[in-house]
């Protein structure tokens, strides 16, 4: 066994994963990196890229047992493409595939059957919810699943750590030579930031579209130089599932209270000034922080430089009101965001690599002042779990959590102190997703705890009326109401490996007994 710098014990070698590089800290000193070379088949004049059907594409692609195929998650819970491709491959009797999907949603439930039949024996994802992670948590996947981050995935692809044999790229609009965008078509989903590394580094790339247009399709988000084939299908997704439903500001009084306090923390930190930058999730409480921040910015006449991330209509409103000079958009969460991304040149596209890849010449997360994050659990060392539930079952994953936390000057976790009768602050989190060194403040409805590393911030918050406590005091406050829950029992079997953004292993998920 080896140990991470956070004290987690890990095997030195994990069957189905390989050698383990234990997590050594959020920022590495080894800064010289290499991108892999890509082998490709050049397309010569008069070659045709459009194929008649998915089956014809599969004939040409020569997919064999053991390959890795990739997908992006821009169609979210409306995605038809992953299921469509796997069904076709299963029919062909292909086995032992690794599915590298940037995220997996409940709509991908048919994957469970493919896992049982060993059509799929490996899964790589940044975020998973629904029946697939439940099956993985029950130990049904042959190899441990690999959980990455939004920035860690392009890092792994570009370095060659994650080799993609075939990338299947769902495209709301494509032309006959493989130029694609996400802003036109009946399945429009906006920015296609998570598909970029796949297109650039996979051995073969296939565009799957339900809106094939004459050449050229403008705007071009991912260009023809990366695309081998184009296939038209009836439907790549269900628009109702593509647009996320969680982009409304909450009315829950406790969540609003938390948001109010988080905004006061930001104000006390001194970061609300011209040129400030900000990112938040699309969840109710996070979005409520944006609303509070908006009020403060307006009141003080502050103009920020940018807001980033998955973009919601709310952030678009802030851009249009002149509160930010630009938006950096890796994916759009709603129709307002898609429309703005299509029409406003200040609404800037970014690839996942540009967003969060630590091994580049600078990701956008490095320019973030303020980041608002969620947490399923947080421990007294400020480590955060957003990967597993308190029952030990996988129900999420980092997404951009550890990337943004590492980059931002001020990372704030907003959470209820208790959820469903359980305390959120623990001695040790079930799974470490994001290391405590990247988390500066935890804001709950019953008090605020600042990471002791941030002496400067503690000084500033002491001057306010905000209820400042130590994280231990906050933990006791919850336990006084809820009691201390019994620890869950896990077996030795590792069902998932949690990779930090740099490719080191920060934790593993063990099967629950």
């Amino acid at each position: 066994m080896i140990k991470t710098v956070l004290g987690r014990e890990l095997p030195a070698y994990i069957e189905g994963y390989g050698e383990v590089k234990p997590f050594q800290g959020a920022v590495s000193n080894e800064r010289i990196k290499t991108r892999k070379a890509v082998k490709l088949t050049s397309v010569i004049p008069r070659d045709q890229k459009v194929l008649a059907s998915l089956d014809q594409a599969l004939d040409k692609l020569n997919i064999i047992d053991g390959m890795t195929i990739s997908f992006h998650h821009h169609l979210r819970n409306g995605d038809h493409v992953l299921n469509m491709v796997l069904e076709a491959l299963a029919k062909r009797g292909i086995k032992n595939l690794t599915v590298a999907a940037s995220s997996i949603f409940p709509i991908h439930a048919p994957l469970v059957e493919h896992i049982k039949n060993e059509v799929v024996t490996g899964i790589v994802a940044n975020y998973m919810s629904g029946p697939v992670p439940e099956a993985i948590s029950r130990g049904e996947l042959k190899k441990p699943a690999l959980m990455q981050t939004h920035g860690g995935r392009p890092r792994a692809i570009e370095s060659g750590d994650l080799h993609i044999d075939v990338a299947f790229i769902a495209a709301p609009t494509a032309d006959t030579y493989g130029n694609i965008n996400g802003v036109e078509g009946k399945s429009a989903c906006g920015a296609l930031g998570y598909a970029v590394s796949d297109a650039e580094y996979a051995d073969k790339t296939v565009v799957i579209t339900d809106n094939l247009v004459p050449y050229p399709a403008c705007p071009i988000e991912i260009s023809q130089v990366f695309i081998d084939y184009v296939v038209q299908v009836e439907s790549i997704g269900d628009p109702r599932g593509i647009v996320s439903g969680t982009t409304k500001i909450t009315k829950d009084p406790v969540a609003l209270l938390i948001a109010r306090m988080a905004a006061q923390v930001i104000q006390a930190s001194g970061l609300i000034k011209d040129g400030m930058s900000f990112q938040t999730g699309a969840g109710g409480t996070s979005l409520a922080v944006a609303a509070e921040l908006k009020d403060i910015m307006k009141r003080e006449g502050v103009i920020g430089s940018f807001a980033a991330g998955g973009i919601t209509g709310y952030l678009v409103e802030m851009l249009e009101e002149g509160l930010f000079r630009a938006l950096f958009d890796v994916q759009c969460f709603d129709l307002e965001a898609i429309k703005s991304y299509r029409n406003n040149k200040q609404h800037q596209f970014m690839s996942a690599s540009m967003y969060g890849n630590p091994h580049t010449k600078g990701a956008v997360v490095n320019n973030l002042d303020i980041m608002i994050l969620g947490a399923t659990e947080i421990d007294i060392a400020f480590n955060v779990n957003v990967t597993t539930g308190s029952d030990g079952v996988i129900m999420g994953g980092s997404g951009g959590h550890s990337d943004t936390a590492a980059g931002a000057k001020l990372s704030i976790v907003v959470t209820n102190l208790m959820k469903a009768r359980l305390p959120i602050i623990k001695d040790k989190v079930t799974t470490i997703t994001t290391p405590g060194e990247s988390i500066d403040v935890v804001v709950t409805e019953r008090g605020i705890a600042v990471n002791p590393r941030r002496v400067d911030l503690i000084e500033k918050l002491r001057k306010t009326e905000l209820p400042l406590l130590t994280i231990e005091e906050l933990k006791l406050k919850a336990e006084k109401i809820t009691g201390v829950p019994k620890a869950i029992k896990t077996s030795d079997k590792i069902v998932a490996v949690v990779e930090y953004r740099d490719g080191s292993v920060i934790d593993v998920v063990r099967m629950v007994d």
Binding site: P253, M418, E465, I481
Partner: protein, 292 residues
Amino acid sequence: MQKLRRTMLFMPGNNPGMLQDAAILGADAIILDLEDAVSLTEKDSARILVRDAIKYIDYSQVEVVVRVNPLDTEFGPQDVDVIARVKPDTLLVPKADVEEIKLVDIMLAKIEEEEGYLVGSIKIIALIETALGLETVYEVIKASQRMVGVLLGGEDLTADLGITRTKEGEEIFYARNKVATVCRALRVDAIDTPFTDTNDYEGLTKDTARAKSLGLTGKSAINPRQIEIIHAVFAPTEVELKQALRVLAAMEEAEKEGKGVFSLDGKMIDAPVINRARTTVELGQRLGLIER
């Protein structure tokens, strides 16, 4: 210092989640409700839930008020008996009249003695929601030394009067006047009826401002989102605060010079003006609007 009762937030007594979070929502007082919010079949369990909530949850930052059922129902006396033993700050007594307040006062004294609490430590707020209660509100307040305020119940009152309740509230103009005047005379708080459209913030602001202008000192709320708006209306304005500070400064100056009566901006400043200035400054200090 006297308790602030700008907002009293109604919380259903049968909802564990709401009871858990009631104290942190920013209201000056919370009213844990055993009466209208609780159906007949849940009266017993709500009573136990509220009792245990008061026992185990830290409500130290708010005034805990429990609305018991009317004493002439089978639940009211039991409510008082069970709840008083865990010593809430205050009981809110519905359909209040002189007889009922006297009865509750006696019951409380007995329980306080049995439990070893200081007799008189549990306070009472009368819920005035009948024509009789309104017309006898002076006597109702006089009926017990425990009385710290009156809450006007507009819905039940208009029902009793057989008139229509409207958003504009013209129909309770007299009731608000009466309650405000009597409460001021007897130096207890006058709490306004809740504004029931929880999504109409503009309407709430107007309704609260009207209540304040008639002399009511606080307002009940039925949704946490109403609290901030009510507080904003009851907070002294910057102009009011500045003027109050000037009055007090002029008073100090006059005292130094040994003047009994003095004027400011050509107007005579007398005791009521000084008292009003003191109240305003004190409220401003408590709300953190000015330094102590």
